[in-house]
């Protein structure tokens, strides 16, 4: 984790309210692991914004993030021009472990929880792991990275309104995946709860979102109750990825 400047190489809309931004930086490329995030300074906002790393291209030193317009900060991010040097702290937080015993993996992502899973899907695929990905979106227009996922994973698309793929919730499709050694999930809290419940017998890792102050572990803004000695974890430092069995939802 360092404070660095990252050059904006592209910043374009890829789905409904959803943007993909490519940034250049050697250090982050070398250090980043799936599940980690960048803590991005957007001019004229008090606080930085945490955005997951969606993929890295080591050869070209490119880092890709995918973000959705959620409020004023992400809206301002859409106006940032190519060539701008973005002030970033990263890579921050914990990552999805890549256990060598895992031969077959299940990824379950919802909305802006999908991006870090793409990074994980690629990492698993490169190690020869068989990957199943269940990806949930609100509607067909919001779907992104379907093709990219299909290159590295057996991919199921779910939309809330049924305009694409299965209509319903990501958990509806979990029974379709016959076998896997571990699961990795990221998405809104209600989804994570449902996934954890549905997969309670399995080894799995969940990635959480919370409003952050510092993003580096000093301010105690982002705690989550845990079954550890301290009884909590900091999402920005100990997380965002936690072992499902250890967090109390």
């Amino acid at each position: 984790m360092k404070k660095i400047e990252m050059e904006v190489l592209s910043n374009k809309q890829i789905a409904l309210d959803t943007y993909e931004m490519t940034l250049k930086n050697k250090y982050v490329c070398e250090e980043a692991k799936p599940g980690q995030f960048l803590h991005i300074s957007i001019p004229n906002f008090t606080l930085r914004r945490p955005i997951s790393i969606a993929s890295v291209d080591q050869a070209n030193e490119h880092v890709t993030i995918i973000y959705k317009i959620f409020g004023t900060g992400t809206d301002a991010l859409t106006t940032i021009k190519v060539g701008t040097m973005l002030d970033v702290i990263g890579p921050n937080g914990s990552s999805y472990p890549v256990d060598h015993e895992v031969k077959e993996a299940l990824l379950v992502g919802g909305g802006v929880g999908v991006p870090p899973l793409y990074f994980q899907a690629k990492a698993l695929h490169e190690r020869g792991v068989k990957v199943h990905a269940i990806l949930g979106y609100q509607t067909a227009e919001a779907v992104f990275y379907e093709e990219k996922f299909k290159e590295v994973a057996h991919t199921y698309i779910v939309t809330n309104d049924g305009t694409k793929g299965h209509q319903g919730l990501v958990t509806d499709l979990i029974p379709e995946v016959e076998s896997f050694d571990a699961y990795y999930s990221c998405g809104p809290l209600p989804m994570l709860k449902a996934v954890k419940n549905a997969l309670s017998g399995h080894e799995g890792y969940l990635s959480f979102e919370e409003r952050m102050g510092c993003g580096v572990g000093t301010c105690f803004a982002c705690v989550i109750p845990m079954k550890n000695e301290k009884k909590y974890g900091k999402i920005c430092q100990d997380g965002p990825v936690f072992r499902a069995k250890e967090v109390i939802l």
Binding site: K3, T46, G213, V216, G217, T218
Partner: protein, 305 residues
């Protein structure tokens, strides 16, 4: 070279810049970014008698030029802090100020007794102004008589000088400061956060789980400057000023208002290097405005100066 050092009760500061309590944890994280020996001092996160888990989340919200927080004094408890955190900070050549909080006078006294005896703790910052806990904290900080009694009780057991942290959520800040001075405080730190709220439109509820939170950041700087200007002319103990400081110019504004040193809180979150950057910019900025030392700036805006 301009001498940046400042002498305050218990504190030999190599420069007047320190991170504010609660915005720097116990220093471990920011030590990854730079050498903490650069800092004049470090104000540690609040210590209470026992471990506290704090408030439910969300605990922070962003506001225009500021933020709200309601952490709720989460900390590992005074014993763990003495055992694990102070030794870490003591590795650095900087002064350690322990922030003490609690729910009762007894708890404040007990925490002070322990932590003021810890090696390397040079001063206590008595946090009687935390707006984010149900009991204790802010009541002590809004009633002059209670504040005076608290100060006396803590002073009676403290082995190091005691700085009392003032809440800005009062009608008359000068009365509070005078009562605390009469209670024997060695110094004041001010200001803590202004109590505020943000409502989340989609959920139609206060965004922060605790409902109210403390407002910090540049938004509150004019309130802090006003209060320091008033209080510094009414008391004879030094003030460590804070509230929205981001630049060396801000530091000079605080010193002119009457602070002897300053703390930087919220700005650390945006820029982890803000403290060392201010320290580096300070000599040239002092020179720009015609100063040769920190001391000559202090209180420079007062009518009699």
């Amino acid at each position: 070279m301009i001498d940046l050092s400042v002498q305050l009760p218990g504190l030999q500061l190599k420069n007047p810049i320190m991170p504010a309590s609660g915005c720097f944890g116990f220093g471990r994280e920011y030590a990854q970014f730079y050498d903490l020996s650069k800092l004049g001092a470090v104000m540690m996160k609040a210590a209470t008698g026992e471990q506290r888990y704090g408030n439910p989340t969300p605990r922070v919200a962003e506001t225009s030029s500021g933020m709200l927080n309601a952490i709720g004094l989460q900390n590992p408890g005074v014993d763990k802090i003495i055992e694990e955190e102070i030794p870490f900070l003591a590795q650095y050549d900087t002064e350690i100020i322990a922030n003490v909080a609690g729910s009762t006078v007894e708890e404040y006294v007990e925490v002070t007794r322990k932590i003021s005896a810890a090696q390397d703790v040079k001063a206590i910052e008595l946090n009687i102004s935390c707006p984010n806990v149900k009991e204790g904290g802010i009541q002590f900080g809004t009633d002059p008589q209670m504040a005076k009694e608290m100060t006396e009780a803590v002073k009676a057991v403290s082995q190091v000088p005691v700085y009392v942290k003032l809440s800005p959520n009062v009608t008359n800040i000068v009365d509070m400061a005078k009562a605390i001075e009469a209670g024997g405080a060695d110094g004041l730190t001010m200001i803590n956060t202004l109590t505020g709220m943000q409502i989340h439109l989609p959920s139609r509820r206060p965004l922060i789980a605790n409902k109210t939170g403390g407002l910090s950041g540049p938004a509150i700087k004019p309130v802090a400057i006003r209060m320091i200007y008033e209080v510094s002319q009414a008391v004879n103990i030094p003030i460590i000023g804070m509230g929205g400081i981001e630049t060396a110019e801000d530091v000079i504004e605080y010193l002119l208002a009457g602070a002897s040193a300053v703390a930087v809180g919220t700005a650390n979150f945006q820029n982890p290097f803000v403290c060392p950057e201010i320290i580096e910019a300070l000599p040239a900025t002092l020179e720009k405005y015609g100063y040769q030392s920190i001391q000559e700036v202090v209180g420079g805006a007062h009518p009699n100066e």
